[in-house]
């Protein structure tokens, strides 16, 4: 059993014991007379206990009132309702109690007064006087007769006393006559009744009273009847005692009258006390009822208010967002139904909150997913609201617009244009389209100042529900270059096709002309023809070389990938230039490079082109310094192999950018303008990165970074 249950059981037990004792006390107080003297000695204790019990009840009520006041001060749920209910219940109970009390007091007074009407008392007094007179007359008769007998016995003397007493008894109505000596001894005795054969000596008080008079008379109880005792003095300090019995019926009647007079007299005397006692008992009952009512009202109010207080507390908890308030449903009444409904509502609310939480989590997941997608999207995404305030911008957008991490993204579009002037081209276009009210648009915009070269962005925009807009833009610079590369490849392919075919006949024709005609010509003409045909053959060779280069550039993609040992391949290529007097070759080949999968022929061509490019760049120097390096690097968790070619030539021209990797972009007087273009194309085909940098020491550095594995 829990502690609260034990305390509750103890309280109920104490209340029941108290109630039982109170009722028993009231019963004893009310009926002590009927219980006899055996219980009467408990009377003060019972009375005191009743008062103590009432005091305890008052204390219990006082404690509850104090507790209620404290609850009211603290604003506990249900306290005010308890006070209201308590007042109502007490107000309901008080008037009937007071009415019953008032009528009860009045009824008690009237009833007690009616028990002994004045005429009854007078009648009883008359009856008593009649009985007294009857008794007086019988005593007087007995006195006369006894005096006569005393005279006869005195005349008879001591010798004739026995005979004289018998005669006197016969002549009188006495039932016994006895002569006592001065010392109390019986001198003579005569009895008319068998039960009076023994003497009945007089009391000392009677003998003393006889000393002052010649005759003494008294009336005594004789069993259920009455008798008269007469004492008369005889000569010689003797005493004559005569006993007379009253007729039984007359004695009973006079005794009944005496009893009735007693009862009436008592009733009259006790009238005030009786009213006081009844009023006191009634007051105790009233107080008991009142206190019990107040206590019961407390219990009732608490019982009624408890579910409401629990509801109030639970409502507060729910308002604070705590849904763990499951209330005991209790009775099957309206309050029980209310509590059941509340519990159902709480569960529904909790379910709804769980659904909202799940939905929010799902939304958050979607947002995170979208953010991740946007973060890793190469296209820039920019979202503005209806007030043209930038709401969101992914990392690619920041990069494409050239925003630094310090520059805020959540700014009005117009402000963004001010803090990031390089993005003015896109921001201006976006603002214009939004002001025009366009629903969707697509166009190219150019940003100046982000890179060395203008950056071309492909901008697509659309209105969002709620009057915002989203702009998605890609860097179209690479696409543009790819398109140009494709155009150049087409040009090269056509050149190779259209030019290469007539070259061989031209060369063969020139050689045949030289072989057939030259011997037949004069010295001067022969020299002219010789120079002319020589020039034709040489130029055709040059054209063939150029066309072959175009062919290499325009060759359709199709790599023969295989495992490649870059160091060995580099070594083989560099061996060809080892004894070239124009070159001072330096090799820095890192051993243990990771394996590569690449087209060996294309990579060989790359190295050839880069070395040739370096030699041609240093054509005005007696001997070019060329350093070829291979090394393994790791970046962002990925492994690469780099192939670098450095020279000490004039370096990269001013304004060098990716356009310099297009065909016919060469600063060298004898270059075809295709060498670097072919290298860039091969790099693109291998997914490699190709870069050109200026060396701080002077000269240029070309780096091909190939993915390993």
């Amino acid at each position: 059993m829990s502690a609260s249950r034990r305390a509750r059981a103890l309280r109920i037990g104490l209340a029941l014991v108290l109630l039982a004792l109170l009722l028993a006390g009231l019963y004893l107080v009310a009926g002590a007379q009927g219980l006899g003297p055996r219980y009467a000695r408990w009377y003060p204790a019972v009375f005191a206990f009743t008062l103590a019990a009432l005091a305890l009840l008052s204390l219990a009520i006082g404690l509850r009132l104090w507790r209620l006041r404290r609850q009211l001060a603290r604003g506990e749920p249900g306290a005010r309702l308890t006070r209201r209910l308590l007042l109502l219940l007490v107000l309901l109970a008080l008037p009937p109690l007071v009415l019953v009390y008032g009528f009860g007091v009045r009824f008690i007074g009237a009833t007690v007064d009616s028990w002994l009407p004045a005429n009854n008392a007078d009648a009883l007094a008359d009856a008593l006087a009649l009985g007294q007179r009857y008794l007086d007359e019988r005593v007087a008769e007995a006195r006369t007769a006894t005096r006569r007998s005393a005279q006869a016995l005195a005349d008879a003397g001591t010798s004739g006393l026995d005979a004289a007493i018998e005669t006197a008894l016969d002549e009188s109505r006495a039932r016994q006559m006895a002569v006592f000596e001065a010392d109390g001894r019986v001198r003579a005795l005569a009895a008319a009744d068998p039960d009076l054969l023994l003497p009945v000596p007089p009391q000392d008080e009677a003998r003393l009273a006889l000393r002052n008079r010649d005759l003494y008379a008294t009336t005594e109880r004789d069993g259920d009847g009455l008798r008269i005792r007469i004492l008369a003095t005889l000569p010689g300090d003797r005493v004559l005692q005569a006993l007379y019995r009253l007729p039984a019926e007359a004695a009973a009647q006079t005794l009944r009258v005496e009893s009735a007079v007693h009862a009436a007299s008592q009733a009259q005397f006790l009238r005030g006390s009786l009213k006081l006692a009844f009023t006191l008992i009634l007051s105790l009952v009233l107080l008991l009822s009142l206190f019990a009512t107040v206590l019961a009202s407390f219990g009732l109010a608490r019982r009624l208010v408890a579910p409401i207080a629990r509801l109030s507390t639970a409502t507060r908890r729910i308002a604070e967002g705590r849904f763990d308030a499951e209330l005991p449903e209790g009775e099957d009444d309206e309050l029980g139904f209310l509590v059941q409904s509340f519990n159902r509502m709480t569960r529904e609310l909790e379910l709804s909150r769980a659904r909202v939480r799940t939905s929010a989590e799902e939304t958050e997941r979607q947002r995170a997913f979208l953010e991740t997608v946007l973060t890793h999207l190469t296209a820039g995404v920019l979202v503005v609201d209806a007030d043209l305030q930038v709401r969101s911008m992914n990392a690619s957008a920041r990069a494409l617009l050239g925003l630094t991490p310090e520059q805020p993204a959540a700014t009005p579009l117009s402000e963004l244009r001010r803090i990031a002037p390089q993005a003015a081209g896109l921001v201006g276009t976006l603002l214009q389209r939004l002001r025009e009210g366009a629903r969707e648009w697509r166009e190219e915009v150019t940003l100046e100042g982000v890179d060395a070269a203008p950056r071309v962005l492909l901008l697509r925009g659309a209105r969002l529900p709620g009057e915002g807009a989203v702009a998605v833009f890609d860097d179209a610079t690479v696409i543009e270059r790819a398109q140009r590369d494709a155009a150049w490849a087409e040009v090269a392919r056509r050149l190779a096709h259209e030019i290469k075919n007539p070259l061989t006949p031209i060369q063969l024709a020139a050689e045949r002309l030289r072989r057939r005609v030259l011997p037949k010509l004069e010295e001067d003409d022969a020299q002219v023809l010789d120079r002319a045909t020589h020039t034709i053959v040489a130029q055709v060779e040059a054209l063939k070389t150029m066309v072959n280069s175009f062919g290499d550039y325009a060759r359709p993609p199709g790599l023969a990938l295989s495992a490649l040992d870059l160091n060995r391949l580099a070594g083989e290529v560099l061996d060809l230039y080892e004894h070239d007097p124009r070159v001072r070759l330096v090799r820095r080949l890192e051993p243990g490079l990771p394996a590569l999968r690449a087209d060996a022929g294309r990579i060989r061509q790359v190295l050839h082109n880069l070395v040739k490019n370096a030699i041609e760049a240093c054509v005005d120097r007696s001997r070019a310094w060329i350093e070829v390096t291979t090394r393994a690097i790791e970046e962002d968790g990925r492994r690469f192999v780099e192939l670098s070619v450095a020279d000490d030539g004039p370096g990269l021209p001013e304004g060098f950018d990716l356009h310099w990797f297009e065909p016919y972009r060469s600063t060298k007087p004898r270059g075809t303008g295709l060498g670097l273009a072919i290298v860039a194309r091969i790099a693109q085909e291998h997914g490699a990165r190709f870069e050109a940098r200026r060396r701080e020491e002077g000269g240029a550095l070309f780096v091909l970074r190939l993915p390993a594995g």
Binding site: A32, Q33, Y43, L128, Q132, T254, S265, Q266, F269, L280
Partner: protein, 137 residues
């Protein structure tokens, strides 16, 4: 005092009945005087009834458990008769021990309605002596 049948305690006292007690007697209410005696380690109780007999126009004094009734025409005579009371101790004549006696008016013998006044008016209804200690001769 020694008696042929054993020891008897002779109590010499002065009992003054209050007006309320007078009135109660005159209205037929009997009063009970209780004597509690402790002697030789034994406790016993004796009682006297005081009542009024209107038919005989006298006040009566009767020892509880005894048929003998002593009558007095005046209440003062009854009170005077109570000045000297003899109470049998039920002890052998040669018993020698100390004892204690106390007398009071028995409220429990009063009618119920009179108990409230007796409870609330002790000056009228409180009749009790202090315990008196004696030693047997």
């Amino acid at each position: 005092m020694p008696a042929p049948e054993g020891l008897t305690l002779e109590v010499i006292q002065r009992i003054e009945l209050s007006e309320a007690m007078h009135a109660a007697l005159d209205h037929g209410i009997a009063l009970r005087l209780v004597y509690r005696i402790q002697a030789c380690g034994h406790g016993r109780q004796r009682a006297f009834w005081l009542r009024h007999a209107p038919l005989k126009r006298q006040y009566e004094l009767q020892r509880e458990g005894d048929d003998e009734v002593r009558g007095f025409t005046r209440l003062a005579a009854l009170a005077a008769a109570l000045d000297r009371v003899r109470l049998p101790l039920d002890l052998p004549a040669d018993a020698r021990c100390a004892g204690r006696v106390q007398v009071w008016l028995d409220h429990a013998a009063l009618p119920t309605p009179l108990r409230f006044p007796a409870f609330f008016e002790p000056e009228q209804w409180q009749l009790a002596s202090e315990p008196f200690v004696w030693s047997a001769p």
